[in-house]
Symmetry: C2
Subunit: 245 residues, 2 copies
Amino acid sequence: MNFPSNLFNSHSKKDGDFFLGMKKILGFKPKNLEIFQKAFVHRSANRKDKEGNPMNYERLEFLGDAMLGAIISKHLYNKVPGGDEGYLTKMRSKIVSREHLNELGKDLRLIDYVESKIPKSRFGDNIHGNVFEALVGAIYLDRGYKYCDKFISEKVIAPYVDIEQLEGKVISYKSLVIEWCQKQKKSFNFDVYEDTGNDTVKHFAVKLTIADKIVAKARATSKKKAEERASKRAYFALQDKMKES
Amino acid sequence: MNFPSNLFNSHSKKDGDFFLGMKKILGFKPKNLEIFQKAFVHRSANRKDKEGNPMNYERLEFLGDAMLGAIISKHLYNKVPGGDEGYLTKMRSKIVSREHLNELGKDLRLIDYVESKIPKSRFGDNIHGNVFEALVGAIYLDRGYKYCDKFISEKVIAPYVDIEQLEGKVISYKSLVIEWCQKQKKSFNFDVYEDTGNDTVKHFAVKLTIADKIVAKARATSKKKAEERASKRAYFALQDKMKES
């Protein structure tokens, strides 16, 4: 048989790159790489599995959506002991809203791995959230509930789930941080610069300096978002100090 | 202080009875009995926890509902490799339908443990399903995901989730069993009798005999349901035999 000589090498190279990319996103090594590959196959690719069933991320998305709902519910249950069923339900739907999941998927740059016949520029925003859900489904199948819980805690709960902000009690962390600096007579500076890197979409990076010390960095698709994100990080880092004052 | 002398005894006795009841329902020993007790407190009881928050099963119901959704999704994902996202979603909503959950709660006689100020006879049907969901939430908190999965597999998936019947491919197990008996020229008999036991609602029990051998028993709130349930059990017990013929 005449295989092109670089077939296996190029295949391994591609798998190797994918493995490293996943490891970085997940924070752990994937065991069964095939499961994760499936999480990025768009239906337009028209892939089939060995049994002839369509192979794309949609089934994993179904699974991931349900796991995400359960894990977010568990966190809310523990985090808000005084919230009744209605409150918990409302908070959960804010956290797992389409918009929020799309943002998560974008931040992890999941679209870079998507396999499709449609040009990526023609996808709507929902591809980001859908692939994020599929990734959660893949984590569950590959490593079980605990890894899934850990991933969601680190990637969804810690950076995004702030009950006070979700409740609308805190509108802007930037203004909280500025107020605090002014009250404390400390200088502050938001150093914003373009940092698109390998992204297709323009990105901005922010360094937030308070009293000549860098207290937080952040990166997002708009200046405003990046500033707000850095402020939020600074807010939590400085929280104890701010509460004292 | 003048405690009534039997206070602690009667309290322990009540807890002991509850513990045994739970152990029977769950199939394992509850660790933290308080969590399970909470799963049966109706809001009308007006109970508060130490922090003054309302204490009833509604928060556990929120948690259990989400866990149930995730675990059922996982089972469907594994059980139906050829089903697409739309199919899986449809099947899941049939399994976790209000009606289905009410039936589950009734079969486990969960209402016997409900604490409320409203007479139980005045509750609608949904109390059964709501308490069932709260129980799932309590299992999660007490023992974690794996026990939750095991409980749902044994109590929901095994006896109730039959993809073919959910899809409407099998309308009646009773007719399948009768057909088979007639084809095989075997005698059969559905022996139905009233067996209300300690229930408030009338119940019927069925013994299904094929060729003078009891092959299945079942119990339900109507004759028809009990016969169908016994037939389903017989069908699965006899499945290999039936497929051969």
